[in-house]
Subunit: 424 residues, 2 copies
């Protein structure tokens, strides 16, 4: 198996040599020290002068097959938009999901992401696509019975069969999860059933939660004044396994409950603002309560891309604005949201560039106008640069992109065009 | 002089041939029709299949030499940030301004901008830099006496000498303007003097206006309860020559006054939100009052880049969010803000791709994942793509960038590094 040697790469404020082998970061030393290392076997050496290494980004909320559904519901409020999406989704199949996920992988790799937490149907095709691209994917069976009892029984059976098959396969690049779409699209029985199954398997459970004010109001009307968080608490669903996307409309009591149960919350600013669902994500309050806060883009039908670096900037601008505080959401915390906090939620040893950690990282090319500055690197990366400064991406110790080249890109785009022609 | 033939370029929903000569768009016909055109002299022909032509973007508020001052005042409120900037600016010179403007031009050309409305000192060096890069620049003498009487007299003399020299030179690629920084940094006498000079020359007057709530409150305290707009109205400064950047904190009466006097207003969302100055730009109210609304990025020390395509997306997300209306700031209006509205404010025949218009345009490469979609082109351009989809840029009938190559880019970055080394 080939090892990778990154020579003269900037890490923090220092220039280093980094050795990667068998999926892990093996050694980090001062630049030049690799000359003293015993380097046996195949070695792929890369000159990284002028490049800064950052942990591979972790996009904690995606619906990757939606990359081929962009623009089908522009400028609609969330409920109308969701109806439109559900209409289209009735016609999807494995072929669509496979190629659309590959398109999403292209877009995420190009923008520095190495791991994504997905939620969609035909997830086996997404797993296949992502693993062929070399990305780390978290996904699993997505329960959404819309209250239909026959559908629930069918989904239970499928869910167990598929989950156990994937858990048995044990691919470390696929973090097997469970999902139920949301409290308004899944029956109470299935919410509890899915949650219990996640507890039994001890795997993450990925849901939408408190995305719109309407969701909260409907829940309170239907469940004796309980908020969605209180309702899930009553059902016993809150736990450190729970990955809750959006969490935009929370009461102080909701925040206490989420913190007390170790729920991980995922902020999706581009989606929330484009759909006008809300923008006052309670970052400070949730952080101070001790909640692990992650970042996502949501699916391309809402957000409309998978660029987590762009999402970082948008998140910062909204926090600074509505809090009327330009120091809100400081850059190091923003980077944590996009890297190590996601790794913590998914229980993977990534999100940091240190000896022993999983070798998931991106190399940022600073030889362009955006980094001509006396300011700090992170400010230039997030506020000035675009994701095209991502020169190369390594996941699990293998190059997914090298100097902006991703193997197979042209073929994927051509195949995606054929899939689109079929559905349009 | 070489003519340019763009073959098989998409314009709106149709594929066209476009002939450009002597700085203007000469002919537009169905694809293939160029075979019947009489094409004499040097002809530079380009296959544009898979590319969409859009008008060159017009960035209506920049301080281009600030490209080398990024990150020096991160995470500060506007007043503290401005003090920091003013300290640094005391040490600048022509050499700094020349190379920093070139860096800004690189960044604007790469992101599809052909014209920018600048405000800074040593503006002659900015004019030289921009014109060497082939860009159209609007700039002129920037008055800022900070109430110092001796400084006023010196600036008056310089202002007249420089303005008349540039007006006499008559370069159509340089739109000569005047500027006074803001009501809080310029004495009343100089505000009136500069405004009268702009009236005499009949040229645009570029100012900052109602950028922060503090500016409005201070003005009311100092001028018997008048808002900044009312104050300028009393001084006779409001006119169709006035280009007012920011206009964030306005009363209904302010909007009436701005509309009645034909003032052009410039929205700078990235700067306003990053500095936490405000985000509720009254787009609908101002548009409905008949005000011409343009878009800008502001200088890189605040925003922190010159990417107008990015600013378009941010502007849309903020309007949709705070208005709680996902249909707010529709895409065609957003494109107008970034193109033809700026042309109108600067009185140039650009911002449209039609026979006879000035040949300022950008070619968008759609052969990538961002345009794989059943949705409309503009949605993909603004919401999905990044500015690296800009393949080529033409200004005044000449290529500034061709297939992402800008002549002299490496040298400019190298020289900018030398300038930075001098000041750090």
């Amino acid at each position: 198996m080939t090892s990778i040697l990154l020579r003269d790469v900037t890490l923090g404020d220092e220039r280093k040599d980094i050795l990667i082998g068998q999926g892990r970061i093996r050694r980090i030393g001062p630049v030049g020290s690799c000359a003293d290392w015993e380097l046996a076997g195949d070695l792929d050496s890369m000159d990284c002068s002028g490049m800064v290494a950052i942990p591979g980004l972790i996009n904690m909320h995606t619906h990757s097959p939606m990359s081929l559904m962009r623009g089908i519901g522009e400028d609609m409020l969330f409920p109308a938009w969701l109806d439109k999406i559900w209409q289209v989704e009735e016609h999807l199949d494995h072929d669509f999901v496979y190629w659309a996920t590959k398109v999403s992988c292209l877009e995420m790799i190009r923008t520095g992401t190495t791991t994504f937490n997905d939620q969609y149907w035909f997830f086996d095709s997404s797993v296949q696509a992502a693993r062929e691209m070399g990305m780390r994917i978290a996904t699993g069976y997505d329960v959404m019975d819309k209250g239909n009892r026959g559908e629930s029984e069918r989904q239970k059976e499928q869910c167990i069969a598929k989950s156990e098959a994937f858990l048995h396969a044990g691919d470390p690049g696929h973090i097997c999860t469970l999902a139920f779409h949301a409290i308004y699209s899944v029956s109470e029985e299935m919410i509890v059933w899915t949650s219990e199954l996640a507890r039994k398997y001890d795997i993450p459970l990925h849901i939408h939660l408190c995305e719109t004010l309407g969701e909260v109001e409907n829940c309170k009307a239907a469940h004796g004044g309980l908020t969605p968080v209180e309702y899930l608490d009553r059902l016993g669903v809150l736990s450190p396994r729970l990955l809750a996307a959006h969490t935009l409309w929370l009461t102080p009591h909701d925040i206490e409950l989420l913190a007390a149960h170790g729920v991980h919350c995922i902020h999706n600013i581009n989606s929330n603002t484009k759909l006008a669902s809300g923008y006052r994500f309670l970052y400070n309050e949730m952080r101070d309560a001790g909640i692990n806060l992650c970042l996502g883009t949501d699916g391309c039908a809402s957000s409309n891309n998978l660029d987590l670096l762009e999402a970082m900037k948008t998140a910062a601008l909204f926090q600074k604005s509505w809090r009327e505080d330009p120091s809100a959401l400081p850059l190091p915390e923003l980077l944590d949201m996009a890297t190590r906090n996601g790794a913590r939620a998914l229980r993977i040893d990534a999100g940091r560039i240190e000896e022993g950690a999983v070798a998931d990282l991106a190399l940022v090319d600073t030889d362009n106008t955006f980094f001509l500055s006396p300011g700090p690197f992170l400010a230039n990366l997030v506020y000035s640069a675009h994701s095209d400064c991502i020169d190369s991406v390594i996941c699990d110790g293998k190059f997914l992109m090298r100097h902006r080249e991703i193997p197979g890109e042209r073929e994927i785009i051509a195949e995606a065009r054929k899939v689109l022609a079929k559905i349009s």
